[in-house]
């Protein structure tokens, strides 16, 4: 998509402005997509893992493209309806197990360690192919945990065929067209491309309008303007516009978390200000955020999720955190991976937005520097929903590989106080076995659809329906433990997400065997995301239920004033039975809400 490769604007342009913009676009060549494959098989729709091997190529690149198919999209191709399909590199790379010893890993660390730079760069290409080969056999990972954050393919730029084939690009640039961040490729090499994006935005702005979306064949180009900062997503993943825009908002929020909104002042002083150096060493933060767009439903539900814990255990952890929160700590959050164990607000009764929790957790988890178990970190952090202008000071400490404590204070001199608080908290958590309970919960997982009670339990006997606590022996006959492979839960229930509107929290069931690979999970999340967007579409009024059957699933969505339920069933599931099952899920969630949600005492907002 470089400015010198002119190709025609194809596809249905869906953007706000008039013909003049369209003409203009023809010259900047934004729209070069797969027109030659006019009728993709219908079941392609949500299979992101599969795409055209030759997607998004301009006509002028056919020759290059031929070469490329051998080199980049190795293997994996299969023939369907006479068209060669192959997994595109970007998808493979996302799901590929990153081995820390691989050269690609070394390359991406190059930004922080000066000595590790140059040498590795030319090896990245090999690594790419290695990744592909790794994936050849199973193409599947056992867990998402082995995804390694960090920048990949730094050697690419907008002239690279492989770069153009990436399914989802994210760019941050300044209003003078200077690149700030790019998901793929070296920002500095993308200066020309950034300038092109800037030209599009300012062209429309000069006409007194705003460009929000350009549709070009399979590609969507989504724009978000935040003062002097422009954010752009170019994607052919078929995600809804609202979702992509939400993702750009998160990207901006993550940037604000690192720098605060006062970065705008730098642009007021010098419009040509180069911001890349200010974000030095944060590639992993952004790449892991982008990764979470496809594996963390919090990114589209705008709610947080809790680690399932016995009510008493969570209370015990809450009590000690409340203690320190009262002593001048603004927020105290105990988290396990991206799940909240307990969180409390200090005397100021400030409120913590779920999006801030997500950005904070992403920042902490993706920065290896916090993980040094022998150290404690003290870092300025801005919570964009709380106050985008000011830094808070965060004390971060990992108790073990997964569990960490974040104490936030408004005072830069609070370190020693926060350190004392942490020591007190640690003592109590160890004494009351909270840390080992957390580890156990992590192993046991949350709600398994196989455990869905067959008949809704009467409220009075709800105690017996404990989640992952030692289950009473009488429990077992009530449950469907023995199910055949494909159909995990009763009546073909595969998975569900329940979002409590009042609590700003959601609970997501564990994935069954039928949705075990990250790619299948990503596909389901994308389907939920689409469902969420369609249920919340503006203008059409709030929808209450939706039942959708395709070749992958039956999806059922139910929105009430109190909750939203998203459920996925076997594609052959019976509609009436599915509805019945959803009622039982809701009842089940209510029965165990003490364990799966952070209730009462101190919710985030008052």
């Amino acid at each position: 998509m470089s400015s010198n490769s002119a190709s025609s604007t194809s596809g249905d342009d869906d953007f706000v402005d008039s013909n003049s913009v369209e003409d203009r676009l023809a010259t900047v060549a934004l729209a070069d997509t797969v027109e030659e494959f006019s009728s993709p098989p219908p079941n392609l729709e949500s299979q992101d893992g599969i795409g055209f091997a030759s997607a998004s190529e301009g006509e002028d690149e056919d020759a290059e493209n031929d070469e490329d198919e051998g080199g980049v999209a190795v293997g994996e191709g299969f023939v369907r309806g006479g068209v060669v399909w192959g997994r595109t590199v970007s998808e493979i790379e996302v799901d590929a197990p990153g081995s820390p010893s691989s050269s690609g890993y070394a390359g991406e660390r190059g930004s922080s360690g000066a000595s590790s730079g140059e040498v590795e760069i030319d090896e990245v290409g090999n690594d790419e192919i290695k990744d592909l080969r790794n994936n050849d056999g199973e193409g599947v990972l056992d867990s998402q945990a082995s995804w390694v954050p960090g920048k990949r393919h730094v050697d690419e730029d907008d002239a690279s065929v492989s770069w153009r084939k990436r399914k989802k690009h994210f760019f941050i640039l300044s209003n003078s067209g200077k690149p700030i961040y790019s998901r793929y490729g070296d920002e500095h090499k993308l200066a020309g491309f950034s300038a092109t994006l800037q030209a599009i935005i300012s062209f429309v702005e000069n006409g007194g309008d705003r460009v929000k979306l350009i549709r070009a064949g399979k590609h969507q180009v989504v724009f978000l303007v935040k003062g002097p900062i422009y954010l752009v997503c170019i994607s052919c993943t078929e995600e809804p516009y609202e979702s992509l825009k939400g993702q750009l908002e998160f990207m901006y929020g993550q940037m604000i978390l690192i720098l605060t909104k006062s970065v705008n002042k730098c642009f007021e002083k010098n419009s040509k200000f180069d911001m890349t150096s200010l974000l030095g060493g944060t590639d992993a933060v952004f790449s892991s955020l982008i990764h979470s767009f496809s594996c963390n439903p919090a990114t589209f539900l705008h709610a947080y999720t809790c680690l399932p814990l016995a009510y008493a255990t969570r209370q015990a952890a809450g009590a000690i955190l409340q203690d320190v929160a009262d002593s001048g700590v603004l927020f105290a959050i105990l988290m396990c991976k991206h799940k909240v164990v307990v969180s409390l607000v200090g005397a100021q009764k400030a409120s913590l937005h779920p999006d801030d929790v997500l950005l904070l957790a992403n920042f902490v988890m993706s920065s290896e520097s916090f993980r040094q178990v022998t150290s404690e970190s003290f870092s300025p952090i801005c919570l964009p929903r709380f106050n985008p202008m000011a830094f808070l000071h965060a004390y971060v400490h990992y108790f073990d590989a997964d569990t960490y404590l974040v104490l936030l204070s408004t005072s830069s001199g609070a370190f020693y106080h926060l350190k004392d608080c942490r020591m007190r908290i640690e003592t109590v958590l160890l004494k009351s076995n909270v840390l080992s309970e957390i580890q156990r919960s992590l192993l046991d997982g949350g709600m398994h659809v196989e455990d869905l009670p067959v008949d809704p339990l009467p409220r009075s006997s709800a105690i017996s329906s404990h989640l992952n606590l030692p289950k009473p022996v009488t429990d077992s006959p009530e449950r469907f433990r023995d199910t055949c492979d494909g159909i995990a839960g009763p009546s073909g229930l595969w998975h569900f997400i329940y979002r409590s509107i009042f609590l700003d929290q959601y609970v997501s069931s564990e994935f069954p065997a039928s949705i075990s690979s990250p790619r299948q999970q990503k596909r389901l999340y994308r389907a939920y995301q689409k469902l969420y967007a369609s249920m919340h579409e503006r203008g059409i009024g709030p929808h209450k239920t939706q039942f959708k059957r395709d070749e992958n699933y039956v999806l059922l969505c139910w929105v009430t004033q109190d909750f939203e339920l998203y459920a996925a069933f076997d594609p052959l599931a019976d509609k009436a039975l599915a509805i019945k099952t959803c009622n039982r899920v809701c009842q089940w969630v209510k029965d165990v809400e003490n364990e799966i949600f952070l209730l009462g005492a101190s919710p985030f907002s008052w």
Partner: protein
């Protein structure tokens, strides 16, 4: 500030320098004896404690390993305020980092504790082939500014323990029961230079 109680000294030590010069690697080499080829960028600052026993005293270091990124620069005073010792690190393979190191030295001379014991460490001497900053250059600058100079390698552990032991020794010397006597050695000349800037503190 170094606090003396009997023969125990608690001292705040701050490590400053450009990004990627190996500040964290030096600290981790000292504390854990480990080296990681791909050390991640530090976020904000990391806090470590380490106890060193000398014949004369036991020194408990509170080490602030700061992030080298530009965005954290304005927050640096938070970390070096009240420090008894500072290590300014540069990477001998990049002149830029040496230039940056000089700026840190200037800032510390202006803003830091006037009795601050300052060390200049030229790190990554294992990369002799890529050297851009000559030993003499570092030594000369250190001499002119009253710093203690060492070339180190966190990778090979060369001079790393020496660096911290040397700091410890000087802390012991500079913190006898009667505090004002602490000005000794070559630091006399620097002391007067510093006083000029006292008003800016």
């Amino acid at each position: 500030m170094a606090r003396t109680s009997n023969k125990n000294i608690q001292a705040k030590l701050v490590v400053l320098g450009d990004m990627g010069t190996g500040k964290t690697s030096l600290v981790l080499r000292f504390i854990k004896g480990q080296f990681n080829d791909y050390q991640e960028s530090t976020i904000g600052a990391a806090f470590f404690t380490q106890v060193l026993s000398l014949n004369e005293a036991t020194i408990k270091f509170d080490i602030w390993d700061t992030a080298g990124q530009e965005r954290y620069h304005s927050l640096a005073p938070m970390y070096y305020r009240g420090a008894a010792a500072a290590i300014v690190v540069y990477d001998i393979t990049t002149m830029d980092s040496f230039v940056r190191a000089k700026k840190w030295v200037q800032e510390l001379q202006k803003q830091g504790n006037p009795n601050l014991i300052m060390f200049l460490a030229g790190n990554k001497v294992d990369l002799e082939k890529k050297r851009e900053v000559e030993f003499e250059e570092g030594e000369q600058y250190a001499k002119e500014n009253g710093l203690v100079f060492l070339e180190t390698s966190a990778k090979t552990a060369q001079n790393v323990n020496e660096l911290f032991y040397e700091i410890a020794k000087r802390l012991v010397k500079s913190s006898p029961p009667t505090r004002p006597g602490g000005m000794k050695l070559h630091r006399g000349s620097r002391g007067t230079e510093r006083r000029l800037f006292c008003c800016s503190v």
